[in-house]
Amino acid sequence: MKLNALGSRLPRLTFWRGLLFALWILGAYVAVIRFTKGLGAVTNLRDDFPWGLWIGFDVLCGVALAAGGFTVAALVYIFDAGKKYHAIVRPTILTAFLGYLLVIVALLFDLGRPWNIWHPIIMWNPHSVMFEVGWCVMLYTAVLALEFSPVVFEKFRWRWPLRVMRSLTIVLVVAGVLLSTLHQSSLGSLYLIVPQKMHPLWYSPLLPLLFFISAVGVGLAMTIFESFLSHRAFRKELELDVLTGLARGVILVEVIYLTVRFLDMAGRGTLSFAFHPTREAGLFWAEIFLMSVVPIVIYSVPKFVVHRTWLFWGAVSTVVGLVMNRLNVSITSLEGWGGAYFPKWQEIVVTAALVATGFAVFEWVARNFPIFPREETAEEAALAGEKPAYA
């Protein structure tokens, strides 16, 4: 019934829509068990493996994949990269905002006493990286909400708040860049305190720096990736020159990343571990290749860096590689100490439900708010698009 009523504006019950509802129902079921029976009932977490998929993927990857928000904002507003990039600002801010909201939802699942999530506001421990992480999540989510607010004000034509927000733009952007820098790096700093627990391929005193650099790289890649999704979902014109510019940025960032990572490993003598025939070494090289080497190679070919298919796959590779890196740091590298960990299906369901929710909300916002440049408003895109989203 409800679906039919919305039918004129939303696609009908497609495969993706069905999957979303299925995940929501399963997710709700897992939530009930989790909040009545405890974390142990739905996760494979244990005393010597206290952080699993929800921290490794939902939080570490979620935050990194939201890095497009501050990267693109800095490019456009601070470094004035050029008018052509303005078109991608709003979609990336929206992605980042949704990303952070989902991270908070994931934390509500993962924290043992989620009703105390606000405690870092009044109970301080500046010596704790987790304290820094908590503050960054709160403050940057607030900044993202403000950065996004002009979209809402514009939609409802609230003039003076819009004018206020505009005068604040540069302040918000600078605050956002600083907070993101802190937050991205602090997720790496979390692991500085366990040198004896982590595999030497991943432990490094430079973890905060490495987390930051790789976040910038994947921020650019995610922006490319998301342009393609918007293109398919809303028949939005692909701004190929914009994507090419971003892809060149990916090369630069990943080259810096590889240089720092390998010099650091060579300097501390941990490089030899990469050449032992171990599972860890395999995962290490997979991560290095997918996240950095593949995009550098693809985007260095002049023909490929302007070609839509190659642009797309280069970005996908970076994103997959980054996810591997974060999971390797948070799970693989600690298995030698804490024993093997693989998530229960309930953990995977919650993660999948959150990702699906992110896509669905993005689609809804993009259809109902002025996210894309004026020539293709949501209404027009919806009118033009009989094709179901993400199909």
Binding site: F35, K37, G38, L39, A41, T43, L45, R46, D47, D48, P50, W51, V76, I78, D80, K83, H86, A87, V89, L111, G112, R113, N116, I117, H119, P120, M123, W124, N125, P126, H127, S128, V129, M130, E132, V133, P150, E154, R157, R159, R163, R166, T169, V174, V177, L178, T181, L182, S189, L190, L192, I193, V194, P195, Q196, P208, W337, G338, P370, R374
Partner: protein, 267 residues
């Protein structure tokens, strides 16, 4: 003054009196599990033959768990014990992740879970007593007292029986020092939970503090840098535009969308 416990592995006979006393004193449920858990604050582990050792919280001087906790739910008290405050904890479990001895345990099957570990019987110490375990030990393998005095006592034992003891007091230096001190007649490398930190001399919280302490500078310089770049670039653009249009722009507008006035007039 900071209290501590001296563990002399050579004196432990594996009678488990300490485990029993702990269970009673802390109201822990009986369990058949032989590992640290919410109902086992201390375990007497059998290393080999008749060698037994105590496995429990070390009450570190620069406790990693205390530095890791975002809401200061864990506290290194003046008296020495490291204790946990239920009303503050938000359940992030960074303490479990960070502890170099893998000591804190979690109530994974409780919807209102607690972090559980040995408290060195903090309440009894405050009341002027000693921990239940040291009181119960029939051989003096675990001894409660001032940490300074215990170090002196350990040194005395090492000196008097140099052939018997490994010439090392574990806990004076390791991870920056611990309230629990161990002396042993078997090499510490053999005792798993101690061996892992034998080479760690510096307090682990230093590793994160080194980075955290840079934040104010990063924010300061970063902010100046970003505003500086913005100012320089935009001044150049403004000047260019002024030259081109030969007129003053009253105000810069850095939002890519049209201003609302134009929005309206377009409709």
């Amino acid at each position: 003054m900071s209290k501590g416990i001296l563990v002399d592995i050579s004196l432990c006979i594996g009678c488990e009196s300490c485990m029993e006393a702990c269970r009673t004193a802390n109201g822990l449920k009986p369990t058949s599990q032989r590992r640290l858990s919410p109902d086992n604050y201390v375990i007497v582990e059998n290393l080999e033959g008749d060698v037994y050792y105590r496995h429990a919280c070390m009450h570190c001087e620069h406790a990693t768990c205390v530095s890791a906790c975002p809401v200061a739910a864990l506290e290194k008290t003046e008296l020495g014990p490291v204790i946990w405050h239920a009303e503050k904890c938000m359940g992030c479990r960074y303490c479990l992740q960070a502890c170099p001895f893998q000591i804190p345990t979690y109530e994974w099957h409780n919807p209102v879970p607690s972090v559980r570990k040995c408290t060195m019987c903090y309440d009894r110490i405050v009341a002027g007593g000693q921990p239940a375990c040291t009181e119960a030990c029939p051989t003096g393998a675990i001894l409660f007292g001032e940490r300074e005095d215990l170090i002196a006592e350990a040194q005395r034992r090492l000196r008097e029986e140099p052939g018997k003891y490994v010439q090392h007091i574990y806990g004076v230096r390791e991870v920056g020092g611990t309230s629990l001190l161990y002396i042993s007649h078997v090499p510490f490398e053999k005792i798993p939970f101690l061996a892992r930190n034998l080479s760690v001399q510096e307090p682990l919280p230093e590793l994160t503090w080194r980075v955290l302490s840079k934040i104010p500078n990063l924010v300061g310089f970063g902010g100046v840098f970003l505003f500086g770049v913005y100012w320089i670039i935009n001044r150049r653009i403004k000047l260019e535009r002024m030259a081109k249009e030969n007129q003053l722009e009253a105000k810069e507008d850095f939002i890519e969308e049209l201003p609302p006035e134009q929005l309206d007039s377009e409709e």
